[in-house]
């Protein structure tokens, strides 16, 4: 189970590292290679984004990656096949990140059963609040998969508790307003926010949006349990190639 894995890992490290990639970007083969590189470089968990044509919560870098993957004719079916291979090959937990329509069109129950069969441990579906996700939550729980819900700085304490009661694995705390890929100020404001998050849940906390460098992760030590790096690795891959990604991740997870 995801929660136990995180607890075990946290006995060895102060903070875990989760990275985010878009399956099929820049092409399927390269995205798989990227997973190998990241695992090798020491990431603790990975989010695999299944591309969608309307990624409403993503900023320019991930948005373009979604588009490019779809231009390459990457299919959902192919993404699931490759992800299944990854869970056999690597021992870290993998999660899906996608928008609800992808799950819905696949058949929600079938999708979740497939996750279970393929050993994908959980899912982040940013456009599925628990109000709309009753079936999703139930089937995820029945299949022992973790539905990961999101906190944001303008989520009330009361709502945080509701989200926590439906979630499993960990809570994904969005660091600030806005979309992925923009800069975040790591300041006392984030401190206060994370304290507020901590008070509303017993689940581990992941913090994402704008985490770019080692100092950001150091800042988060003792405050969050998982640091999430998304757009930055994609940017480094675009600009400097795979080797640079390996160095970047090794440095972050050191």
């Amino acid at each position: 189970m995801l929660k136990q894995y995180i607890a075990e890992k946290l006995k060895q490290k102060d903070i875990l590292l989760m990275t985010h990639i878009v399956l099929g970007y820049p092409n399927m083969e390269a995205s798989i290679q990227l997973i190998d590189i990241m695992v090798e470089a020491g990431v603790d968990l990975m989010e695999l984004q299944i591309p969608f044509s309307e990624p409403i919560a993503d900023g320019p870098i991930i948005l373009k990656a979604n588009q490019k993957a779809l231009e390459n004719n990457v299919t959902v079916k192919e993404c699931l096949e490759k992800a299944a291979e990854m869970t056999v090959k690597h021992s870290i937990p993998f999660l899906y990140m996608s928008y609800f329509n992808i799950l819905y069109k696949y058949g929600l129950q079938a999708f979740i059963e497939k996750m279970s069969a393929d050993n994908i441990q959980g899912a982040i579906v940013p456009d599925l609040p628990p109000e709309e996700g009753t079936d999703y939550i139930q089937w995820m729980k029945e299949n022992k998969r973790a539905p990961i819900f999101i906190y944001s700085p303008n989520t009330s304490n009361e709502r945080m508790r509701v989200l926590s009661s439906h979630g499993d694995g960990f809570i994904y705390c969005v660091a600030r307003k806005g979309v992925t890929g923009k800069k975040t100020q790591f300041s006392s404001e984030i401190d206060d926010y994370l304290k507020r998050c901590r008070n509303t849940t017993s689940l581990p906390l992941a913090l994402g949006f704008g985490v770019k460098e080692k100092s950001d992760i150091d800042f988060l030590k003792g405050k969050a349990d998982i640091a999430v790096v998304g757009s930055e690795t994609i940017k480094i891959m675009n600009e400097k190639g795979f080797n640079a990604v390996a160095d970047f991740i090794s440095n972050l997870s050191a």
Binding site: S53, E54, N101, D127, P129, S152, V179
Partner: protein, 408 residues
């Protein structure tokens, strides 16, 4: 935990967490105003002073004679300020923005009509304004971009995705998730997450309220059929909502593009290419592939060129309260010619879709029957697109000469 904003199985609010609080605020505000007759009176007087409400219901005598069947009436949203029904929704939301104390509005636009209406409202109320518009639409509707700029709005061309209306909506949401504290997103049609479908319908219902009274005053009876074009569904819901409880047949007309069999169209409710899905925050019929990726759509009318459709209309189709058909690009051009020549009225390309279906059915009806066509907007502002569609050689020459002047 309760689901909100459902019409049958359609609608809902599939929101990223960051926007949940903003939508709660919006819903509170809408709940407060919708039962407040004073607010409606304020809205109505604003629309009659600042715009031309009530817009006329015109008896199209020549077309009626020409087609030789039902008596044809046209509801003239083209005479609303800024030339389309869009302003009804925009001014209503503008009044709400004032109540919420926000200072900036953003909007998506396809044809540019909603963008111009929003820029107009922002100028009048003193709001900052940013309009997102797909790059393809920026090119085909350049004159509207000019007006938005002159009205003080910033127009951001959207170069992602298919570069049309749906992509502009995505981009507007991306702005909103960053700037919700001071910004309201003026969604332009009866789509999107709750409360937008209901709220936009509420403001557009002014069309149906007026039309019902006017047709009774002029003819002493209710119409037999009402025709409206359907992009996102706001003008259709606007007029239909005045007659939902009446024994009146309601017909929505979608963009048939190059023909339904070519798949180059934007028909969600009367083609087999659409299926149930969830995108842009709501559940409805979308033109999408088997895996849930949205398809490219096509219409001669930018305002109808959209992958989704109002959840309210999806529901009304399921309960068989509204019937749907499609009009092709070619049929639209023919009907525009006829309407201009017979009545001296220039419908917008979007609106002309409703005329197409009405003209097919009117001759089969009897002379004591009545139909109303909702003319959602005026076409003269689309001169570049319409002139292209008409392939008018003199106009082309004029543009060539004009271009030479600029080169000189």
């Amino acid at each position: 935990m309760t689901k909100k904003g459902y019409f049958g199985e359609f609608g809902g609010a599939f929101l990223p967490e960051i926007l949940v609080a903003t939508f709660e605020e919006l819903e509170r505000e809408f709940t407060a105003i919708k039962s407040d007759t004073e607010f409606w009176n304020l809205y109505q007087s604003l629309m009659s002073n600042y715009s031309c409400r009530p817009t006329p219901l015109t008896y199209a005598e020549n077309l009626t004679q020409h087609l030789g069947g039902a008596r044809i009436f046209i509801k003239r949203e083209d005479l609303n300020h800024t030339g389309a029904h869009k302003l009804n929704n925009v001014m209503g939301q503008g009044l709400m923005v004032k109540r919420m104390g926000k200072g900036r509005v953003i909007a998506e636009t396809g044809a540019g009509q909603h963008g111009v209406a929003t820029a107009t409202m922002a100028a009048k109320f003193g709001f900052k304004c940013t309009i997102y518009m797909g790059e393809t639409d920026v090119i085909r509707q350049r004159p509207n971009v000019f007006w938005m700029n002159r009205l003080g709005a910033e127009v951001v061309p959207v170069t992602d995705g298919t570069r049309i209306l749906k992509d502009a909506i995505n981009e507007a949401f991306r702005d909103w998730v960053s700037n919700m504290d001071d910004t309201h997103y003026v969604l332009g049609t009866a789509c999107g997450p709750h409360p937008f479908p209901e709220m936009v319908t509420f403001f557009q219902s002014i069309i149906g309220k007026e039309a019902r009274k006017q047709v009774l005053d002029q003819t002493g009876k209710l119409p037999d059929r009402i025709f409206a074009c359907v992009g996102g569904g706001s003008n259709a819901m606007g007029i239909f909502s005045g007659f939902l409880e009446d024994p009146v047949e309601l017909i929505g007309v979608e963009a048939g593009g190059k023909g339904l069999s070519t798949h180059h169209h934007a028909s969600r409710l009367c083609s087999d290419d659409a299926s149930l899905g969830v995108a842009q925050g709501y559940k409805t019929f979308f033109l999408q592939n088997d895996e849930g990726q949205m398809n490219e759509t096509h219409s001669i009318a930018a305002g109808l060129d959209y992958v989704g459709v109002s959840p309210v209309l999806s529901h009304l189709r399921e309960c068989k309260r509204v019937r749907f058909s499609a009009a092709t690009d070619e049929e639209v051009i023919e009907v525009m010619k006829l309407t201009m020549q017979k009545e001296g009225i220039i419908p917008a390309l979007e609106s002309a879709h409703a005329f197409v279906q009405a003209f097919k059915e009117a001759p089969q009806m009897s002379q004591d029957q009545i139909i109303i066509i909702n003319q959602s907007g005026r076409g003269d502002k689309d001169i570049f697109t319409i002139a292209d569609a008409f392939q008018d050689p003199d106009w082309n020459q004029f543009i060539i000469n004009k271009a030479e002047q600029y080169h000189a």
